[in-house]
């Protein structure tokens, strides 16, 4: 049997399936949409598909008409449409045929040391601009410059970023840069100041809701009342996460309906609705009862059981981050707690959060959090 790394066999296989592979990206896309995760299937294809980033989209559409582009810096939390937007913009500018020769995408999966970026950008920028085929220009503006996308730029070192300054200037006549990052503070000032900045907001409820409902109806998924709200709540403004949750929730209830329904052997996504509970389950939300049990153990009088409750929660695999979030909500909105205690408790959260981000042991961190809150509640 051929091995996983039998490159020759793979090449042969690739050649056999060539029609679908290298040739036409569009075609591959339509062929494989059936088996694609929904996040990819419903990635916005044009600027107007991008939801909730109205300001950005309007400005970009205007530049599309003017056929000129500044250097750009996109920033914002994960899953808010940054990568999708630049790809859609590039596609609208150059169309499918010129995309390859006019757009260079470098992301964190590429080696991005100083010299490598410089070389790659140089080689790319120096390539002759190919002329669009006749008639093509009426459909796509094809402005006379190339776009270099540096996605996930916050993972580039400071040195690599400063080296980029020169490069940007050297080729500024024929190239435009688009930097994309989650944290704008990780981009050095001299770079950031050369770019028009676009902030991508966490998706607001209204827009996210609409998008999710659209996808659900296209996929034939029924949503119980409140399920969309649960999706949005659990995904915290990250549309990608919300779509992934929706997909697996749909699969789950679809499968349940199928085994229950007996002999329906086609893959039919059934009428069983996605419920709030299914969504919360998938999103890893800790049941309210568990949080209450912890809270009760922490309160004066319930002492002694805190460590066993925590031990159980850790063994049940509840993630520390989720525990923190939910416990925080529970404590802050607990009206029986005096404000002065809440203030003290909040500082404990701050410390423990930092530990966790640094990779400290979750069990000890949560146990300490619980013990400290318990102490504060007891007036110690």
């Amino acid at each position: 049997m051929a091995s996983f790394f039998d490159i020759k066999a793979r090449k042969a296989a690739a050649a056999a399936a060539n029609g679908a592979s290298s040739g036409n990206a569009e075609k591959t896309a339509t062929e494989s949409t059936k088996v694609q995760p929904w996040v990819e299937k419903y990635r916005p294809k044009t600027l107007s598909d991008v939801t909730a980033q109205d300001h950005t989209v309007t400005v970009l559409q205007r530049t599309l008409q003017a056929s000129n582009l500044p250097h750009m810096l996109f920033y914002g939390p994960p899953g808010t449409g940054k990568t999708s937007t630049i790809l859609a913009l590039a596609k609208e500018l150059y169309g499918p045929e010129l995309m390859k020769s006019r757009v260079l995408e470098l992301n964190a999966s590429d080696e991005r040391g100083i010299s490598i970026v410089r070389e790659k950008v140089k080689d790319f920028a120096r390539m002759q601009l190919t002329n669009p085929p006749p008639g093509y220009k009426s459909r796509f503006p094809c402005p006379p410059f190339k776009i270099i996308i540096l996605d996930e730029a916050d993972s580039m070192t400071q040195d690599a970023q400063s080296a980029l300054r020169r490069t940007m200037e050297t080729y500024s006549k024929i190239t435009r840069f688009c930097l994309i990052c989650n944290y704008v503070t990780r981009i050095i000032d001299p770079l950031a100041s050369r770019c028009s900045k676009f902030r991508f907001k966490s998706l607001d409820e209204g827009n996210a809701k609409k998008r999710l409902e659209d996808i659900a109806s296209l996929e034939g998924v029924t949503l119980e009342d409140g399920a969309v709200d649960a999706l949005i709540r659990c995904s915290e403004g990250d549309l990608r996460k919300a779509i992934t949750y929706l997909q697996s929730a749909a699969r789950l209830v679809g499968a349940a309906a199928q085994t229950g329904g007996g002999d329906a052997d086609e893959m039919e996504v059934d009428n069983a609705a996605v419920t709030v509970k299914v969504v919360e389950d998938i999103a890893g939300v800790i049941p309210e009862a568990t949080i209450q049990r912890l809270l009760k153990a922490m309160k004066p009088g319930g002492s002694g059981t805190v460590s066993s409750v925590v031990e159980d929660m850790v063994a049940d695999g509840w993630s520390a981050a989720q525990t923190m979030t939910q416990l925080y909500q529970a404590v802050v909105y607990d009206e029986t707690l005096p404000d002065i205690q809440k203030n003290k408790i909040v500082t404990v959260f701050s410390e423990v959060d930092k530990w966790l981000v640094d990779g400290a042991d979750e069990n000890l961190a949560i146990l300490d959090l619980a013990a400290k809150i318990s102490g504060i509640m007891a007036g110690r």
Binding site: F4, T83, R240, T244, G317, S319, L364
Partner: protein, 352 residues
């Protein structure tokens, strides 16, 4: 002779005993072509890997069980050679990038793209994509995680990732956003007892309920640990009863001794003795985090209730420093000194 843990490992989703709901969910995901990337997390010994392997079988059929080990060499940008082992079948491959420490990014960048850019060899494969399983994902460096981001999106027609981790707090938000999180809870005491009972039956060993109950509790809901203890008890004793002592791993015994010693005698000489024991543990590759955590739990029953919050606090604090610092021994000793001081002060206050 294979250990029980391996011999009795379930091979398919149907054979998995506990967490029926979760098995059902994994099956429903595997049966549709649009399988998402997964991040499977849960405490160690909860059966994450077993579940993932069973899911792979559901995805691709028995072919995934024909595995071989490939040794590969990578070059870093500074021209250092990295040796790296890969476990692979025709359909999937399994890697542990933390084996190469800080160079994990190089491996991720090269390897995943190579996999992603090639087609399935087996044209009749049930899925168009291949799966890469990444062990110990919580140890991936930030750079390596960043390197995964676009790869996970761009190559999704050809590639799915399954990340395995003990906890999710070290996984960056963009990766969490790209995966479906699957929580694998540790089996309950009852789950463990019924698994032990089944094991006893298969091995033709007598069923000793009381002992199995004790093992389940001792194991801290860690199934791997429970099975190892179970096997050891039966191997070391002719006749097994409810009260047969359960063998404890040497290192745990040693940590127990340390706990006892530092609460009994709080002198510089003691610190010296204990230091030797710490070195002993460290040279036997017991992770410093595990040592401090175990020490914390062993000290707790030995001290007054009023000291417990402090014992926990300093364990958490120094464990954090172990993770962010470079020299574990500093922090282990600092912890010991803190405990000694707390106990000493407590005793003084009692005298007055």
């Amino acid at each position: 002779m294979a250990l029980l843990v391996d011999k009795l490992r379930p091979r398919s989703l149907e054979e998995l005993t506990y967490h029926e709901e979760l098995s059902k969910r994994l099956r429903s995901l595997a049966q549709c072509g649009d399988f998402p990337h997964l991040l499977v997390y849960g405490p160690s010994g909860a059966g994450k890997k077993t579940r993932v392997v069973a899911t792979l079988k559901e995805l691709f059929g028995p072919g995934v069980e024909k595995i071989k080990i490939d040794a590969r060499v990578f070059m870093t940008s500074s021209n250092r050679k990295l040796e790296f082992n890969i476990v692979a079948s025709v359909y999937h491959m399994e890697i542990t990038p933390s084996d190469v420490g800080n160079y994990d990014r190089v491996v991720i960048q090269d390897l995943l793209k190579e996999v992603a850019q090639t087609q399935q060899v087996d044209q009749a494969a049930r899925q168009k994509f291949k799966v890469v399983v990444i062990n110990e994902a919580e140890n991936l460096t930030r750079d390596a995680q960043a390197a995964l981001r676009r790869t996970m999106e761009k190559y999704s027609p050809n590639l799915r990732l399954i990340l395995l981790a003990n906890s999710t707090s070290n996984i960056i938000a963009p990766i969490r956003s790209r995966t479906l999180l699957i929580r694998v809870a540790a089996p309950t005491h009852d789950d463990i007892r019924s698994i032990l009972a089944a094991a006893a039956k298969k091995e033709d060993w007598p069923l000793v309920e009381g002992l199995n109950k004790r093992i389940a509790e001792e194991s801290g809901r860690n199934l791997r640990k429970a099975l190892l203890m179970f096997e050891a008890v039966h191997a070391q004793n002719e006749k097994v009863t409810d009260t047969t002592p359960i063998p404890v791993p040497d290192w745990e015994v040693l940590v127990g001794q340390i706990a006892k010693e530092i609460t009994e005698d709080r002198t510089p000489a003691r610190v010296m003795q204990v230091r030797a024991k710490f070195y002993d543990l460290l040279t036997h590759c017991i992770p410093a985090s595990t040592i401090i955590k175990t020490l914390c739990f062993k000290v707790m029953p030995l001290v007054d209730d009023s000291l417990k919050p402090g014992v926990i606090h300093y364990a958490a604090m120094y464990e954090h420093r172990i993770k962010t610092g470079t020299k574990a021994i500093f922090h282990l000793e600092a912890y010991v000194l803190k405990i000694m001081k707390m106990v000493e002060e407590y005793l003084m206050s009692m005298d007055m």
